[in-house]
């Protein structure tokens, strides 16, 4: 039998593009980008680009931001615990998993931090219900939109790049609703092949002809076809020009080309530097459902994932350079995992979890939120870390302080009051 699958996913498309569109690659035209941003960024928006990363599958926050100072930690996880003397930036209660070494400098500098024991008001151990509820972020209401859609709906009409989903996943349901979002995949693949030409002038004319036809063909079509068509044809002229221009990351940043997370962050940095008006970017980074073989301090599933995350965040920060001041990156996951390890060297579904926060305006270097502890008496539902800190409070604080977002009660109906001090207020420019 011949080898059927030696490529990583999606190599095929890139390989194909490279072959078929030798045309496009042949003559790199002078960057036309500045002339092509017909849709100027929303001039009324002067906030951060918020990058929301979904750790889909149930991130084990206890393995990343490790509560080694809690006496119950080591006894609950005899085989998968991280020894205290291996933790980074250990403060007597919490320390970072050693696989996060690339992020230690940011932690120590205060631009990377965490909130622990984060949860939803109405927890469930179902992945799918928990994800949907977390992205809807309107417990107890019948709203069917997502929180990012509601936040964007309150802002002025922005560019087609105002809200983008990057990477190889379906758009987050946090975008569900009327505000348009651009699911972009990868900038360099966001090309209409039929319109591509090594002569940029011809390519632009082709795109215009295709765009007019595609838009007209959507007359009378359902929104689920019209909206993505408008977003796609609105963006391709810019993305095709960006592809022609090429990209060299700044600050000596090295992105792992095999990592969808890293390459998605690379595109976000690129779009931010292009000043296309990117306000919100979402990435789906899954494969955290570690019921079995979570691994050890030095290797395994969790180690590999945290290493990939840390390298990607580090490259992103370096690449952004001064623009690191204009970004707030936040991770969320539908639930944390059980405090006790199971018989398979893994951990089953639990509740309370950790959120990671990074950016120039972050009050980092510490773990925020009230800590309920791991003692038996304080466990939720028989074995879970309590979710004492509402995840919406963290997101609301970021929207408020970093994006100038008003009407937080519209974005998060029933939002509890309070602030955890996760970020600084963005200076007005």
């Amino acid at each position: 039998m011949t080898v059927e699958c030696e490529h990583p996913h999606h190599l095929s498309r890139r390989g194909f593009l490279g072959g078929m569109a030798a045309a496009g690659a042949a003559g790199i035209a002078a960057p036309l980008i500045s002339t092509q941003l017909a849709f100027a960024a929303d001039p009324t928006y002067a906030g951060d680009t918020v990058v929301v990363i979904s750790f889909r599958g149930g991130f084990d926050g206890l393995s990343a931001i490790v509560p080694a100072g809690d006496p119950a930690y080591a006894t609950s996880r005899p085989n998968i615990k991280i020894p205290t003397n291996r933790l980074l930036s250990y403060d007597g209660t919490f320390g970072l998993h050693p696989a996060m070494a690339a992020l230690k400098p940011y932690w120590d500098a205060g631009t990377f931090g965490a909130v622990h024991a984060v949860g939803q008001p109405d927890p469930t151990r179902s992945h799918f219900e928990a994800m949907e509820e977390m992205e809807r972020a309107a417990p107890g209401s019948s709203l069917r939109t997502g929180w990012l859609d509601r936040a964007l709906g309150l802002r002025g009409t922005g560019s087609v790049f105002q809200a983008a989903q990057l990477g190889w996943s379906l758009p987050s349901s946090a975008f569900n609703g009327p505000a348009p979002e651009l699911a972009l995949g990868r900038v360099d693949d966001f090309t209409l092949w039929a319109a591509d030409d090594n002569d940029p002038v011809k390519a632009e004319a082709n795109v215009a002809r295709w765009a007019a036809a595609l838009n007209s063909l959507m007359n009378g079509a359902p929104t689920t076809l019209v909206a993505p068509t408008e977003s796609a044809v609105g963006a391709i002229t810019t993305t095709m020009a960006m592809k022609r221009a090429g990209y060299t990351p700044g600050g000596g940043a090295v992105y792992d080309t095999t990592s969808d997370l890293a390459m998605s962050l690379r595109d976000i940095a690129r779009l931010m530097k292009q000043n296309v008006g990117l306000q919100v970017a979402a990435i789906d980074y899954g494969d955290w459902d570690m019921h079995q073989n979570l691994g050890t301090v030095d290797s395994g599933w969790m180690f590999d994932k945290l290493t990939e995350v840390s390298a990607a965040f580090d490259a992103f920060a370096k690449d952004l350079g001064p623009k690191f001041a204009d970004v707030t990156l936040v991770t969320m996951s539908e639930f944390g995992r059980r405090i006790d390890e199971n018989g398979s060297g893994g951990v089953d579904h639990g509740h309370g979890n950790a959120m990671l926060v990074m950016g120039g305006g972050v009050n980092g270097g510490t773990v925020r939120g009230t800590w309920p502890g791991l003692a038996e008496a304080n466990r939720d539902d028989g074995g879970d870390l309590r979710g004492d800190n509402d995840y919406r409070v963290v997101l609301a604080e970021i929207l408020s302080k970093r994006c100038g977002q008003g009407s937080l009660s519209t974005v998060f109906p029933g939002l509890p009051s309070g602030s955890l001090g996760v970020v600084k207020t963005r200076p007005t420019s």
Partner: protein
């Protein structure tokens, strides 16, 4: 078997016979039309005129129309006639299906043969299993069976490729899903629970009485049977996990087996089912629970909901769901009368263009209507190369067969798939397939775009657009869409085309691609 009201059925059957006689493109869609007048509905002009019930049927109960499948529907004369014919797939002569079987002999392997035939932990067989799904869906004449195979794969989903499945995913496909796709759900559920694929995928393989792993127990209730609102508690979920301890996989052979030494014993209660579970051999108790769950009204409702969502609407009508669920229960989980009732329902007849194709449906329906076929000469590997390329195309479009990373299967609503790069990916794929860019004629038989034209080649631009629409959509484009295509060509409807016009020659593929980008192809 419960059926729809006889009057309704008679209307459908009569109308069907009437339209069947009128030929491919001129048929008035009598069943749909009458259904639309029965109830006041918000009117959305259809993209193809007139509406044709055969197109509707083949876009839902099959992987999309092509001339051959339209002829098959015409030969059966009605929805009921075609569905009944399709519900007994073994009786359908299927030379292309046989060609696909010959192309993938590995699919008939036992797990032991697989372990002897490929390198340990190689992905080869898993990827072949996924490619085989594309081949059968595209070319088998047993189309309803292929659609249901895909449906059940997404219901009792094991992600392929994933750890532990290297030697068994083809066996899961054959012995669990395909064997029961048009049979009883209770049988399929029981087979899935004890298959190496599922035991690995949801970690029951490593679950023991000392520390039960909850993964399978939870998804058994939440996804496979009663659903998240099924009324079970966390304790009941844990009881399901305890009960399942004992079913595991022999790491040396890859074969599932039962180990009484790791089975948790003690009383269990799950919803209305209870069991003393005092024996080390818990297998009879496992079968008892699985049968109870398969027959549970909440399971009936969940399966009916998913079927309606798949075949009729993103927002299933509760009335139809209730009728289908009742049929499921009355027939002891046999899916055939349920499917029959669904396709004969007035809700189905009234659902023209109410669903949006997901990427895999788009790719396969495009291949079917264009008429690509596998190579018949060359080595096995040569002949599979084209299908391998198609697999990577579905991968790029986010919907490779069996590849959804979570245990709930691919979402089946338009909102979940709504994305700009999804739209762009489809357009690129249409262009690539229509022009034969990739896969190209070296690895798959690609029909020329000219083969889509009638024998008498159109002599005006308008006639060309109409001829292509007739061939691709079995009707005419609505006038504003037709005008948009003509504008794209820089022509008016009456512009004369000479025999060597670019739109009849080197730009015909581009025109075909544009038509495939229209909602006439994207809606189903």
């Amino acid at each position: 078997m419960t059926i729809e009201a006889p009057t309704r059925r008679r209307v459908l059957a009569t109308a069907a016979v009437a339209t069947a006689a009128t030929g491919l493109s001129s048929a008035i869609a009598a069943p749909s039309a009458s259904a639309f007048t029965l109830k006041k509905r918000r009117t959305r002009r259809s993209t193809v005129q007139p509406r044709d019930w055969r197109t509707l049927l083949l876009r839902r109960a099959a992987w999309g129309p092509n001339p051959e499948s339209l002829a098959d529907v015409n030969a059966r004369g009605s929805i009921a006639g075609w569905v009944d014919w399709q519900l007994n797939p073994a009786a359908i002569s299927d030379p292309m299906g046989a060609q696909i079987e010959a192309l993938y002999p590995e699919m008939a392997w036992t797990i032991a043969q697989a372990r002897a035939g490929i390198d340990q932990f190689s992905w080869d067989l898993m990827i072949l299993t996924a490619q085989y799904q594309i081949a059968r869906a595209t070319w088998s004449r047993r189309q309803l069976n292929e659609v249901m195979v895909d449906f059940w794969h997404n219901h009792l989903h094991v992600a392929v490729p994933s750890d532990g499945l290297w030697d068994n995913s083809h066996d899961y496909d054959r012995t669990v899903i395909r064997k029961n796709a048009l049979g009883k759900f209770s049988t399929m559920l029981s087979a899935s629970a004890k298959h190496s694929s599922m035991l690995y995928y949801l970690n029951n393989e490593s679950s023991t009485k000392y520390a039960p792993n909850e993964n399978y127990g939870r998804e058994l209730l939440e996804l496979h049977t009663v659903g998240v609102d099924g009324g079970y508690t966390e304790t009941m979920m844990f009881d399901a996990a305890r009960l399942m301890t004992g079913w595991t996989v022999n790491g040396d052979t890859g074969i599932a087996y039962y180990d009484p030494d790791i089975h948790w014993t003690g009383p269990l209660q799950i919803l209305g089912w209870s069991n003393a579970n005092s024996a080390a051999d818990g297998r009879p108790a496992v079968e008892s629970l699985l049968l109870y769950l398969a027959r549970h009204p909440k399971t009936a409702e969940r399966i009916a909901t998913r079927l309606v969502q798949r075949f009729i609407s993103d927002d299933p009508s509760p009335g139809l769901v209730a009728r289908l669920a009742a049929t499921y229960l009355a027939n002891d989980t046999d899916i055939r009368p349920v499917i029959r009732q669904l396709f004969l329902s007035r809700e189905f007849a009234a659902s023209y263009e109410r669903k949006v194709k997901r990427p895999m449906e788009d790719v396969i329906s495009t291949l079917r209507i264009l008429g690509h076929t596998p190579l018949t000469a060359g080595t096995l590997d040569d002949r599979r190369k084209g299908i391998r390329a198609l697999y990577w195309q579905t991968q790029d479009l986010r919907q490779a067969p069996l590849d959804w990373p979570q245990p709930n299967g691919y979402p089946d609503t338009a909102v979940a798939w709504q994305s700009a790069d999804g739209a762009l990916g489809r357009w690129n794929n249409h262009q690539s397939l229509a022009a034969g860019w990739w896969p190209n004629k070296a690895i798959i038989n690609v029909p020329t775009p000219q083969s889509l034209l009638p024998t008498t080649v159109p002599t005006t631009a308008g006639a060309l657009v109409d001829a292509l629409a007739n061939r691709l959509f079995n009707g005419l484009l609505r006038p504003d869409h037709r005008a948009a295509v003509l504008t794209f060509m820089g022509k008016s409807a009456t512009s004369t085309l000479t025999a060597n016009d670019q739109w009849l020659k080197w730009r015909l593929a581009e025109l075909v691609a544009l038509l495939l980008d229209s909602p006439a192809h994207t809606l189903r």
